[in-house]
Amino acid sequence: MAALDASAYVSDTQADPRAFVRHSEGLAHLDLLVRGASCAGCIARIEGGLREDERVEQARLNLSTGRLALSWRGDDAAARDFIAKLNSIGYPATPYEPEADSDPQREEERRLLRAMAVAGFAMANVMLLSVSVWSGGLEMTETMQSLMHRISALIVLPAVAYSGQPFFRSAWRALRVGHVNMDVPISLAVFLACGLSIYETFIGHGAAYYDAAVMLLFFLLIGRFLDMRLRAKASQAARGLAAMQAATANRLLPDGAVKAVPAREVIAGDHLVLAAGDRVPVDATVIDGRSALDGSLVSGETEPVAAEPGTQLFSGMLNLDGKLVIEATADRDNSLLAEITRLVEAGEQSRSRYVRLADRAAKLYVPFVHTLAALTLIGWFIVAGEPRPAIINAIAVLIITCPCALGLAVPAVQVVASGRLYGEGVLVKSGDAMERLAQIDTVVFDKTGTLTEGRPRLVNEHEIDPRSLDVAAQLARTSRHPLSRAIADAAGMGIAAHDVTETPGGGIEGYVEGRRARFGSAQWLGIQTTANPFSEAWLQIEDEEAVRFRFQDRLREDAAETIHGFKTRGAEVFLLSGDRREPVAAIAAELGIVSWQGELKPQDKIERLQALKAEGRKVAMIGDGINDAPALAAADVSISLASAAEISQAAADFVLQADRLKSSVFALDISRGAKQRVIENFATSVVYNIIAVPIAVFGYVTPLIAAIAMSGSSVLVILNALRLARRR
């Protein structure tokens, strides 16, 4: 059911594709984001289906990103036909606004991949030479060894200069502002290993460490690349969401014509036409027409807002039944949505102060290692009385303690953990989100759309005779009003009534089996009742007695289980909602939540969260509405649902793709498991150092030992990370 609803939602809020068509060489081009494509059959159906149309010149689907590049000859208006075609074969598509300039993240990923390829090539070839030097032993003449070293230098030095850049740059940035990070000892070890090897090759004629330097870079680049992939995957999802926001507005021109324009081009004072099913693109006032609008994503209120001339509307509200003419009161950048975006950004800045586990380890590790190397230098200088062995051994300490395994310890675990979460339908936006989730002790829930389904459900189906329900459903299937939707959901698939007219704010009437039937509010039907007009509707067939349908926003099936899950894992649960106090109290009582508050504005939610954080709590926020977005960003870690407002999904660290609330508990378990593995990996590195460091300090390290120790510890760390992939 959820999937069906999602597709309905997409086609409801469909942006006009003509605003996104580009032209070149006599062809029209459009990028579409296609959902639901996952197999060869999908590619064949989508591309084949579109190519059946003679106008289409090219249709190519990128299955990894879900983007479809489409070019055709002729009118822009054909874009609508193509989208309709895709919808009809079961792949809802939305126009995708291509980024203005080339994507920096993608460029970064490419650069890392190239660096990795170069380091891999250099490592393989230098190993070829190094292994022959190690195994050649006494048979190899010194001239030959020297030749091997010189060839190694020729391969490694340019490779290091190229592949080491990500580390050198990051280390330099950290040092310049007076910090240390993991990249500082890495860069130092690589530099010193290369420097020492050059000296030994051309002057000293001793052992060279070219292979160690380049192997170090190769392993670390793997870790860096895994980390990058993880973030790229998440940001790709976020960009998909941004594309959903590529909204259009229908501008009413002075001559009465209507033209579709991108929403960001709307300026204050523009007159816009808002059809049923459209989202309000910018803050506006109604100047003509009557309708009801769903503001649940904006304010958290479940009840639709009645609109008439003069009513103030906020961007993000969904028009439910009538056609409205509205006057923009602000452009897009000054609308409520933009204001919320700014609050979100402010929250994200405060979150970036979180210090990652790896960086905290680096803070302890770096001074320790460097002191040890300095002591080795001084000790050997005193014992041996000459500088050369002292310098060689000090450098050996730095090479052998270089945090190769530490560099892999975190990304390897995070990639495995996020892979498992992905399999359960949980999207992770960043690696450190899991670290932050692992340490929470307080969970704050939103109500509407998070703990509840966020839309009304028919609750008295057992009181209604099936014939009345069937008649109501035939009428309801023609309408987008939430109560009609609820009836249609309850009745399932079926035929729709014909000759139906809908009165905005009133109800629908039409003919069913030749008889006139009316379905709508009590007031519209002239029935005396005191109940809330949005929690009940009546059906009247000709002069028969009217039948009452009652509705309520229902709890999600797994809400209670989720709350219980968090409580048993030692987290305290709070409920903060923007809805009125009574429904919030009812839900809190039903779920056994003691601490709850209603009627909160976005700003109030942030203040409440900050108060909790000030008590020293680590707070996770789970929410879905536009009004939750700033709170999501302000919390230590945040979770959102796939049905949530785009901005909330963008602000959240985790998105529950399948809308299963209890996946959030699973995410907590996996995050805690991941943290455990990371700590184990750090412990492994410490044990490794306890063994390797004395060998280095006392001068027994040979290039062969360095190579074995380095790869051995890395493999151990990766194997430990892979344990997380095993299902218990």
């Binding site: 060869a40 090539f121 393989a124 070839n125």
Partner: protein, 52 residues
Amino acid sequence: MSFLIWMIPLAIGMGLLGLVAFLWSLRSGQFDDLDGAAQRILMDDDKPISGD
């Protein structure tokens, strides 16, 4: 040991060839859609080729 004079350059040359081939394939977009490439091979395209 004189054979090493041309064996070593040969080995490195082959490695370099692999590296260049990889960088070329990266640049020409062969890694842009890995899932798609894996699936496209399964598509039935045994229809007669229409000259267009």
